[in-house]
């Protein structure tokens, strides 16, 4: 066991955990941030996607000891200071993307990171950036359309 000072969703937090504990389980078990999902544990499905300094990262593959001072953002942290939903979340609702919904927070985190680095992605760029996120219900077409809509709405 060791103590770690983390910065999660803008807040400094202290956790005590085994250094090898993946960030995923620190978020879920220790910090009760359950919007980050466990899907495969081997970085193959994207359900556990969070941002590390704004970049998409599979939290099941990242030991808490490797996080250091980097800013961690989870799905719970992408709303605005006024608690307004992120434009990507809004697009998800407008296009009624979800079926079971389990993978969607990971999909949204990948999409937010994509639009941050590439505000106007082509279809191929969306496919490439999102292909690590599995949706077993097969909502891929709606996810892509929602990303395109979010890109359009933030240009306004």
């Amino acid at each position: 066991m060791a103590k770690f000072q983390l910065k999660v969703n803008g807040k400094p937090l202290q956790v005590e955990a085994d250094p090898s504990t993946p960030l995923l389980w620190v978020l879920r078990d220790h910090l009760n941030l359950v919007g980050t999902k466990f899907g495969c544990g081997v970085g193959a499905c994207g359900a556990c996607t969070v941002h590390l300094n704004g970049r998409a990262m599979r939290s099941c593959q990242l030991p808490v000891s490797a996080v250091g001072t980097q800013a961690v953002t989870t799905i719970e942290g992408i709303v605005s200071a006024e608690k307004e939903m992120h434009p990507v979340q809004k697009a998800w609702l407008e296009l009624d993307v979800a079926q079971c919904g389990y993978c969607q927070t990971g999909q949204i985190m990948s999409a937010v990171a994509l639009l941050k680095s590439n505000p106007n992605p082509t279809e191929a760029e969306i496919e490439s950036a999102m292909t690590g996120n599995i949706c077993r219900c097969g909502t891929y077409l709606r996810i892509k359309a929602a990303i395109q809509q979010a890109a359009k709405s933030s240009k306004k």
Partner: protein, 750 residues
């Protein structure tokens, strides 16, 4: 899911409401004037429509809550079923709160997510519940204002009397309404009068989903809860011999390591009681990561099983199930299946004289199709929360069939039925996997043993290697063709390990004077169960691939050939039990033909495949366009025609069909679970291939036949015909007919 401390039991909840709340609650207990639950259960069989009502709860401050009775695993019943209630209730839909009902089947009557049955089962009862509540509220207003009910109108949860300019919202009327006798007769709206049903409505749980709120079993927490994982044998055909937990128990955070038996010796399994292994090792500790690490330190010895017999009481009555010893493999399965196809089998249906027709045939087309085991892989791994005390058996369970788990829980955990309290968490996918709730019993055993609330978690590896899979199947189709290119007989032999896929009364049965259908199955120790449109998902692929090749052989357009056969079956049906309505089937194919521009020059030049199927009471047909992308065949576009009767929520319906099409393409091209020495080769999503973003089509056009037939489901029906549509399009693109799934492997593209 909120914290358990906030969750009062249904019974106390009811009591509190009736004593202090005022307002009204429509539902079984309310109509029965709060008679005790036991009496309700006893009376269930005698009740009329009331037994099927969901809940409507209206508070004096005008909150309208509708409970969804059916477990939600992504088919959007949390929206579509309450829509049925509210069409008649006429509350303000934008303000209606929707909540998942707990397990309480005596009250809800039907709590079953499977077989694409939700729409059909809920259609009349839920609208009747809504209409009844509305009439009571109107009657309360009529009494209060001293006017006849016929002079009242209702809009968005407000009752109005125009002549006297009086109005009152439902909240103000609910307490009085709750004291009135239920109306004798309730008339339901005609489809032409609907204002909510048939309009696109967004998912009522959308905000919670995109916000990452606690909705799923894996998210659930309660005071003092421990985390549990199990260790199961490394292969089918193996069992636990002994284990040493010394090192594991030294690991930080670990509370207990023990073995336990899931079902008692002699337990007669019901249809959904399938489980892979009966003796497991449990590892229990404070946190997930600690348990995962300690689990690796348990040293277990395994031994081969002997031939075992278990009793099953399921479809087909009580029977002995043989679980053979041995380590099975895909290679062996394929060899055995091909051998079995040549042996005498059980005749399931025979029309006319197929033997003579084949003897007199000018040409015979014979083709054999196979498909591998498949794993469901719902995105949320298997899990269950259990807290068993002397008083109560509390569960948070992701389960498609809660009522059917009752006997299993009662028998194997020594619990009284009335002690069961089960919250039905939103499920992160199911596809049939969560119809088999052995994990509920496992969690129960572990909680009992450690005397604490536990959350049982399977890893992805656990679920993939300890699964309830789609069986492996084989099917041989044979057609007798005369000198004029007429098909004179069809012969089909279907078999599988350990279950046959054959539906002998499905199309093209009923078309040809001479028809023979045969079936066989063979025992296996690999556990199998329902997988999105069980059996149909393979049947359709074999049948619709064969009909495509048959059309080509007799020189006909594949789509027109199907319509022609159906017209023949309609005009002059052969046999009695044909399991389809030719008119509706034809209408779906005609719609597909129109919407896909089938027969146009562009269509003829495209690499297109067509397929159609009827199962689970709905009709589905697809045209698939294949192109090449980075040297790989790619399904770029799909046009779909569906007949599921009246479409309750067009946007949700479209989403379901799109998902089924994507799932079908993925499984057709990549889906495969290989067994070697009794163990699955694929152990996680890095080698069990599921379709991904860049492999999904660019466009899926979904069209519904417009009719007012009572609605049927969409979870399964669009899925089975996708496989053959893909195979038939791949043939156009590559010149190679495909017979063995997954098709990409047969094409040598993997």
């Amino acid at each position: 899911m909120k914290n358990a401390n906030n969750n009062q039991s249904r019974r106390s909840f009811l009591k509190v409401t009736s004593l202090t709340g005022g307002g009204m609650m429509i539902g079984f207990s309310w109509f029965a004037n709060l008679i005790p639950n036991e009496a309700i259960a006893a009376a269930t069989d005698k009740m009329d429509w009331v037994e099927l009502t969901g809940f409507i709860k209206i508070t004096p401050d005008n909150q309208v809550k509708i409970f969804n009775p059916n477990p939600e695993f992504g088919t959007n019943v949390m929206t579509s079923l309450p829509m049925m209630v509210n069409e008649e209730l006429e509350a303000d839909w934008s303000k209606v709160i929707v909540e998942m009902g707990d397990y309480d089947t005596p009250r809800f009557k039907s709590q079953f997510t499977g077989g694409s049955r939700a729409m059909a089962m809920a259609w009349k009862p839920l609208r009747t519940a809504g209409a009844t509540a509305r009439l009571l509220l109107m009657q309360a207003a009529a009494n209060e204002w001293g006017v006849p009910i016929s002079e009242l109108t209702v809009s968005k949860g407000v009752v109005m009397h125009k002549a006297s300019n009086k109005s009152a919202n439902y909240g103000a009327l609910a307490t009085a309404a709750a004291k009135l006798p239920k109306p004798e007769k309730v008339e339901l709206k005609k489809a032409s009068e609907f204002t909510l049903l048939g309009t696109p409505q967004k998912n009522k749980v959308g905000k919670e989903i995109v916000g990452g709120e606690s909705l799923f079993t894996l998210d659930y927490k309660m005071e003092g809860m421990l985390i549990a994982m199990v260790i199961h044998p490394p292969a089918f055909g193996m069992q636990l011999k002994s284990f040493d937990a010394t090192e594991a128990l030294k690991m930080p955070g670990i509370k207990a390591v023990f073995d336990f038996q899931v079902y008692k010796d002699g337990y007669v399994k019901a249809g959904f009681d399938t489980r892979a292994f009966n003796k497991l090792i449990a590892v229990v500790g404070n946190s997930t990561w600690e348990v995962m690490n300690a689990r690796k330190k348990v040293v277990a010895q395994w031994e081969p099983i002997q031939d075992t017999k278990e009793m099953v009481m399921a479809r087909g009555g009580k029977r002995e199930e043989i679980i053979p010893a041995g380590l099975e493999s895909t290679e062996n399965h394929l060899r055995l299946m091909h051998e079995m196809q040549k042996k005498p089998t059980r005749v399931a249906r025979k029309d006319g004289d197929p033997e003579t027709a084949f003897k007199n045939a000018t040409k015979v087309l014979e083709r054999t199709y196979t498909a591998p085991f498949l794993a469901h892989n719902p995105m949320e791994p298997i899990s269950c929360v259990a807290h068993i005390t002397d008083e109560k058996a509390f569960f948070v369970a992701p389960i498609q069939i809660p009522e059917m788990m009752k006997q299993n829980i009662v028998s194997n955990l020594d619990i009284k039925p009335e002690q069961i309290e089960m919250k039905l968490a939103r499920m992160g996918g199911g596809f049939g996997r969560r119809a088999y709730g052995h994990y509920i019993v496992e969690a129960g055993h572990i909680s009992k043993r450690v005397k604490a609330p536990v959350k049982l978690i399977y890893t992805r590896e656990d679920d993939l290697t300890n699964g309830i899979y789609r069986p492996t199947y084989i099917m041989t189709y044979k057609a007798a063709i005369d000198k004029d290119n007429n098909v004179t007989a069809i012969h089909v032999i279907g078999g599988g390990i350990p279950e046959s896929p054959l539906h002998e009364n499905r199309f093209p049965a009923g078309v040809f004077d001479n028809y023979l259908a045969e079936s066989w199955d063979m025992p296996s120790n690999i556990t199998i169960g329902a997988y999105r449109a069980p059996r149909s998902n393979f049947n359709a692929s074999a049948e619709q691939s064969f009909l495509d090749e048959l059309a080509e052989t007799v020189g006909k357009d594949p789509l027109d050939f199907r319509i022609e056969m159906l017209k023949k079956a309609k005009a002059n049906p052969v046999g009695k039990n044909n399991d389809y309505n030719a008119d509706r089937f034809i209408a779906v194919l005609e719609l597909l033909k129109e919407k896909s521009n089938w027969g146009s020059t562009a269509s003829k030049n495209a690499k297109r495949g067509v397929s159609a199927y009827f199962c689970h009471a709905s009709y589905a047909a697809h045209v698939v366009d294949v192109t090449m992308k980075n040297g790989q065949p790619y399904v770029e576009k799909v046009v779909t025609a569906m007949d599921c009767g009246f479409v309750v929520n067009p946007e949700g319906a479209k989403n379901m069909v799109e998902g089924a099409v994507v799932d079908g393409i993925g499984n057709a091209l990549y889906g495969e679970l290989i067994l070697e020495k009794g163990a699955t080769v694929q152990k996680n999503l890095n080698n069990y291939r599921i379709i991904r973003h860049r492999e999904a089509p660019k466009k899926i056009d979904v069209h519904f036949v417009q009719n007012n037939i009572d609605p049927t489901g969409l979870g399964e029906p669009p899925f089975p015909p996708v496989f053959a549509a893909v195979a038939n399009a791949l043939y156009k693109a590559t010149g190679k007919r495909l017979y063995n799934q997954p098709y990409l492997k047969e094409l040598g593209k993997v």
